[in-house]
Symmetry: C2
Subunit: 163 residues, 2 copies
DNA sequence: TTTCTTTTGTTATAGTATAACAAGAATTAA
DNA sequence: TTAATTCTTGTTATACTATAACAAAAGAAA
């Protein structure tokens, strides 16, 4: 059960997917990028849940649907989606997650549940400001931030407590 | 050149290594853990620089010195050192770094230079507090934090500016 | 010394990612 | 419309990262 519950309360996940795809189309058009079949489908498949998807899991799903099943296919699609800011890579899991705010410049900070593996993306300006400040103290010029927090989400905590 | 400069100004790196090893001996003794030859040497090799070392790089160095050269050897040593809190894994690089504060409970936050690959570990309580607070807002119970910031360190910035 | 536990050796394999070059499709220029 | 160009995909091979499983050896405890 804890594998299935959804971390975003009262949310219709189809809306997530639709919104993500719409944003993707828009961004690609604006930037003269081509959201080809395999790229579009990869994005949809990644968005099927709020759990990060591994490259080879994605490859298997694409292969089922008749796409080419060699690793470069999926890594190219992933590279494209990453570069376009449409997905994030969760470094601590070697897996990929739909970006919830692709239309805004932002940092992807993640809360990853150890139990159900759902991930929530958050974007808090005060943390970003703190990090910039701490880096500046070392005269360090920040370019990218990997912030991945793990633990127990609300639902799994409740489930575990009653178990 | 930028490959060689040292990020910690005015520091004698031998002191780092000695201090790290001494702390390691002490912690292992206290906890009834055995810092065997291969574990000790692995720790030293990781501490040879402030750059994260890959498992297979470490394996190669150990092999040169007559240690067994199969992967499990090095991963076991790494697992031990990680569990003992003597090293950290830099997730975004799949590489390992000596822990600068093994004797204190702390979170490993890293500043990673994209140019010279030196890493500075920092430990700021205000960031930790912010992260806890943000997690709590989602009713999320924090267990681990992966904070890896990349960019340009002071020396590389200076080198690049003059280039 | 026997037993128990921890550590290491060894072989095999699983999982993640990229290099290199050929072929095809879409876009642009002529 | 064709030719040239660029972008994208196909294909094969390989590199890099990590673990499973079981045997042997070493160290600690009884």
């Amino acid at each position: 059960m804890s594998e299935e519950h959804h971390p975003h309360s009262g949310h219709n996940h189809n809306d997530c997917i639709e919104a993500a795809l719409e944003t993707a189309e828009q961004l690609c058009t604006e930037q003269g990028q081509r959201l080809t079949k395999v790229r579009r489908r990869a994005l949809e498949l990644i968005w099927e849940s709020h759990r990060p998807l591994g490259a080879y899991q994605l490859l298997a799903k694409l292969a089922e649907e008749g796409f080419n099943s060699a690793p470069p296919t999926v890594y190219r699609a992933l590279d494209f989606l990453l570069a376009a800011g449409l997905i994030h890579k969760v470094e601590s899991m070697n897996a990929f997650l739909g970006c919830a705010h692709a239309d805004k410049v932002h940092k992807g900070y993640f809360l990853i549940c150890d139990e159900c593996h759902n991930v929530m993306e958050f974007d808090y300006q005060d943390i970003h400001a703190s990090l910039i400040a701490r880096a500046a103290e070392q005269d360090f010029e920040l370019r990218s931030e990997t912030i991945e927090l793990t633990g127990l989400c609300s639902a799994c905590k409740a489930a575990g407590a009653s178990a």
